[in-house]
Symmetry: C2
Subunit: 254 residues, 2 copies
Amino acid sequence: MSIPASKIKFIKSLHRKKYRQKYNNFIVEGDKIAKEMLHSNSLRIEGIYATDSWLSTNKALLKLHESVLFKVSLTELGRISTLKTPNQVLIVAKIPQRNFPNQHTGFALYLDNIQDPGNMGTILRIADWYGIKTIFASPDTVELYNPKVLQGSMGAFLRINVFSTGLQTIREAFPDKVIYGAFMEGESIYNIQKHPDALLVIGNEGNGIHPDNMPFIDKKITIPKGKGGGAESLNAGVATGIICSEFFRENPQK
Amino acid sequence: MSIPASKIKFIKSLHRKKYRQKYNNFIVEGDKIAKEMLHSNSLRIEGIYATDSWLSTNKALLKLHESVLFKVSLTELGRISTLKTPNQVLIVAKIPQRNFPNQHTGFALYLDNIQDPGNMGTILRIADWYGIKTIFASPDTVELYNPKVLQGSMGAFLRINVFSTGLQTIREAFPDKVIYGAFMEGESIYNIQKHPDALLVIGNEGNGIHPDNMPFIDKKITIPKGKGGGAESLNAGVATGIICSEFFRENPQK
């Protein structure tokens, strides 16, 4: 039941984006996220590598996957894990194919070159909190299947569709959407009219929204600073949270 | 001008909390934060370790500190740095003595066992954005002078006083303060009355507010979830940002 060397090599290759894309496979790790994934039943599971004790306490959940179960020691898990301290279980799953939606109404996010996996994970978690089901992301945004993104998202990736696309494509596909961009200067988020069919664009951590995307922004909005505030900016995840809170107080997601 | 071995050992010891507390010294790194620190003039600088090019482009700023300047190579910087890729400058400074304030009115935060340095840095940055000058933190909250906290705070630590103390002490010292606690269940942040002399308690990432602190909470508040939202919780930094936004829209800091 232990893992052949070729399998170890394969799983380790999935630590890197290049091979995730080549093989269309990705990794998730840890008891909680593994259980959520198996419960959700929405992804094709290619392999479950777990300790004896984890396998025996999760028998019911594993019934459908007996052909892809591998019992491993903690040492073996350490060899294939992306974590400093490997957890009890690692799952390899297939990256699902997502076709650009034919239609979309309601609130969605557009991430313009978000680079930090922690921020990306946090933003997925915020979207999941507010029931936002669709995130569009520029092709240069950090990859959804980056292990740090998945870990930070706390399972949100199972409930949210992320589409990699340019902002122009969205503008053309959904001409009725009102596109809001988060800027250092703009109208206060407390005063703007919030359209129920809104797209919120969040820019890169250091550089903000890319100049090429400016023509597609309908409304520049900003989070007002407090009196005596010294910070130059807010973290991209925090800014997303504050603006979403403002939109959802008035327009709870249908 | 290169650094003696004993100095290298001393600076490396400051990577650890134990020695920061023993020597009452801490480290900050990077061009931007170093400049902010020298401009602010609020801390006693014990040593500036920088590359030749950094020293020569920042001469005016360094006038008051000529006796503690050390020109170092990038290799030497790498040896004393806490970063994977050392920046051009590292500063050693004295940890300032903070006496518990005799009086306090206006909005403040209480951090109850925040453990993640990234969250702590993010929360400092939020406080700095809203002009919140005072943060109280439980003694088991991650240390302010942890290099990752300082790095994440983007210089906010220069403008905010952080006091380590129990919640009971605050309750007794400031009996008129209204203490709000962030919970998974409570009154919606959109409906509560926001007292201008408020203390907002943010709990630990996994466990929330400690049971021992419950008796001191006047009002349990919560961020309403969106319809169809699946996430169990929001990140502690994001939750802090959303609640602060709600308080400051109505009570801008004086």
